[in-house]
């Protein structure tokens, strides 16, 4: 763990460099080999050749989307873990991904919508809806938001949405073909416009997250202490929830339900930077971007020449992590 602020700053800069390197690798590596010279040329002076087109229209959007989505999911996870005091909290576990998937499939099946732009908005709405459902369900009842109740409610809502989605796909093979890859979570073949559509919301949420970090720290001391310190806890909690919906919803809209990044990364970041959210959240953003980029690069090579959706790679990485944390116990508070 990095102790002093100076060390933390150096760590942050180091991670930033790794992130940029990962973006670069993501542009260069893949089925079509690209030399770094070609890549630079494609970005600065695109001559319209095949190699240049691959870089500009396929690789670059993909790298940027992976970085943005990874960062957003990780930040969303960290906020959720702080808000619920549940170390397993994340958009995937809490049903947000499944909710977005369900809404997409409804739109494809019943309204034959296939424009990616529209679908991304639908996913955004679905994510928000599912998040609200889980929050409301787990907040109701006598003892409020206990970690266990949230995890179980999230799982149940996930299972419900997943099952309804599968049911609809079972009745409609054409839709299955269109959304199967999306449903598994992937950053491949996404256009830059798709990211552009949600980018303002993601960027606003990043900024908001960093501004709220100090309040989240106080929130972590418990409701009574926070209130005693003059924090309007309900307002802050609502703001955090809104940020989660923006971050997770925007991510799912662009890349589909990619699981486990939001759960894993905050733990790694805490190991590095400690529990102060002013450091933790930027660390999460960088680590999340790096992890998703690496997972995506890996996904290209596992079954070469076919691609595996990156959501599967993150699940395979994340499950052991999840089990490790589950074994350690989540009963805290």
């Amino acid at each position: 763990m990095l102790a002093t602020n100076r060390q933390k700053m150096v760590g942050l800069i180091g991670l930033l460099i790794v992130l940029l390197a990962a973006v670069w690798m993501s542009i260069v590596c893949g089925y079509t080999d690209t030399s770094w010279r070609q890549a630079v040329a494609a970005l600065i002076d695109n001559d319209g050749s095949n190699a240049h087109l691959v870089v500009a229209t396929v690789r670059l959007p993909r790298a940027l989307i992976a970085a943005a989505v990874g960062a957003s999911l990780a930040m969303a996870g960290a906020l959720m873990q702080a808000l619920t005091r549940n170390p397993l909290a994340s958009p995937g576990i809490f049903g947000i991904n499944a909710g977005a998937g369900f809404f997409i499939v409804v739109m494809v099946t019943f309204f034959s919508i296939s424009s990616l732009q529209m679908l991304s908005w639908v996913a955004f709405m679905g994510a928000a809806m599912a998040a609200l459902i889980v929050f409301v369900i787990s907040a109701a009842g006598k003892d409020g938001l206990t970690p266990l109740k949230m995890t179980l409610a999230g799982t149940a809502v996930s299972a419900l949405f997943a099952s309804l989605t599968q049911g609809m796909l079972a009745m409609n093979e054409k839709a299955l073909e269109e959304v199967l890859f999306w449903l598994a979570g992937s950053v491949a073949g996404r256009k830059l416009e798709l990211l552009a559509a949600v980018f303002p919301y993601l960027a606003a949420a990043w900024l908001g997250t960093l501004l709220l970090a100090r309040h989240v720290n106080i929130l972590m001391m418990g409701d009574d202490v926070a209130k005693g310190l003059g924090l309007r806890t309900n307002v802050i909690k609502a703001a955090v929830a809104l940020l989660v919906v923006l971050l997770a919803g925007g991510s799912v809209a662009v890349a589909g339900p990619i699981g486990f990044i939001g759960m894993m990364v905050p733990h790694m970041a805490r190991a590095l930077a400690g529990v102060d959210h002013r450091w933790l959240l930027p660390y999460c953003a960088l680590l999340g971007g790096i992890l998703l980029l690496m997972a995506d690069i890996g996904a290209r090579y596992v079954l070469m020449p076919r691609e595996v959706p990156v959501g599967i790679v993150t699940a395979l990485l994340g499950v052991p992590f999840f089990i490790y944390i589950a074994r350690r116990g989540i009963a805290a508070k």
């Binding site: 266990l148 499950v319 989540i330």
Partner: protein, 350 residues
């Protein structure tokens, strides 16, 4: 007047039956039979339950007999058996781990069976979509997948004992892993196989034939009988490890046997009816509410309820958007997920 009826058969079977339990069981049997008759009588060609019963017994119109015997009967029987198997598997698990939220789905056992069956379909199909090996091996594949998942969960959740909460969380994790594997297999395979697998994962008894019934019946019925024989061990297990050992039970060995029984039942159901979710969770709870938690009465009650649930879900799926069929698993999830959430409130101490 005595409150209990004692049943003794030979050396190994003896139950106390609450009179209320007997009444509940009788009512459930009547409900199951009625639903069965409605179910085989419904569809494009409608028959009243009486006509259906007549056709079943060899009377009535010939066309009725043909439709029922060739198409509907195997399907409804598969649904019934799958429901019974899942419900009993859930009841045994819940009793054994003393966690009312345990069920084959939550613990990833259904997911393991599903992943294994999809792998089986992917490995052993040719381009014409027909299997290159006998379908007889399917239940075995499902059973092995279920067992592997159960073993995985059991092993990973073990830490100086088996805390129920940890078990459920590890189960959720293993479920997610199985789901990822299943999706991976679906995506790497051709699309026709994916859609086939998808229907199957959701849980549907569409297209069940007599061949399925004849494969499934010995497996499920044999295991159900075994479960009833094992019921008293579950009763003892429910008291907790120390008491169970004090009473002379070989706790660990019995527990292993019960886990195997439960996964075999799940595997059998999943192999033929797919991933019909939440039945293993719901049916035992409802049964407990009706007849209490003595397993001699609980198991048959849960079995009947499970059968009714899946038959009902299948019937609803056939009728609601006819001629489009909705897989039965969609309905069991639609009822089951809210029920699960409701249980969370009932179970605040967990």
């Amino acid at each position: 007047m005595k409150k209990y009826i004692t049943v003794r058969m030979g050396k190994h079977i003896s139950f106390f039956y609450d009179k209320k339990a007997v009444a509940v069981l009788a009512a459930l049997i009547a409900a199951a039979v009625l639903l069965f008759l409605i179910s085989i009588g419904s569809g494009e060609m409608r028959m009243s339950p009486l006509e259906a019963a007549a056709a079943l017994l060899g009377y009535g119109e010939e066309i009725h007999q043909t439709v029922i015997v060739t198409f509907r009967l195997p399907r409804v029987l598969v649904a019934w058996m799958a429901g019974m198997a899942l419900a009993v598997a859930g009841a045994v698990l819940q009793g054994m781990v003393r966690n009312p939220l345990a069920s084959p789905d939550v613990l990833g056992i259904t997911g393991g069976a599903a992943a294994s069956v999809v792998a089986f379909l992917a490995l052993f199909s040719d381009e014409n979509n027909s299997l290159t090996v006998s379908i007889h091996w399917l239940p075995l594949a499902a059973f092995l997948g279920a067992t592997a998942a159960a073993w995985f969960v059991y092993m990973l959740a073990w830490k100086n004992g088996l805390a129920p909460l940890r078990l459920v969380l590890v189960g959720i994790g293993v479920s997610a892993l199985m789901q990822a594997l299943t999706t991976l297999l679906m995506i790497t395979g051709p699309i026709y196989r994916a859609s086939q697998a998808n229907v199957w994962i959701t849980g549907s008894v569409y297209g069940a034939s007599w061949k399925h019934v004849s494969l499934m019946a010995p497996w499920v019925i044999g295991l159900l009988l075994l479960a009833i024989l094992a019921a008293r061990h579950v009763n003892v297990q429910e008291l907790g490890d120390e008491l169970a050992m004090g009473l002379g039970g070989a706790v660990e060995r019995q527990r292993l046997g019960l886990v195997l029984l439960s996964t075999a039942l799940t595997g059998g159901a999943v192999a033929f009816a797919g991933g019909i979710g939440f039945v293993g969770l719901m049916a035992p709870h409802m049964a407990r509410r009706l007849v209490g938690s003595a397993f001699g009465a609980l198991l048959p009650t849960a079995a009947l309820l499970g059968g009714v649930l899946v038959m009902g879900a299948d019937l609803a799926g056939r009728l609601l958007l006819a001629p489009t069929e909705i897989p039965a698993g969609v309905f069991t999830a639609a009822i089951g997920a809210p029920y699960f959430i409701y249980l969370l409130y009932q179970n605040r101490k967990a």
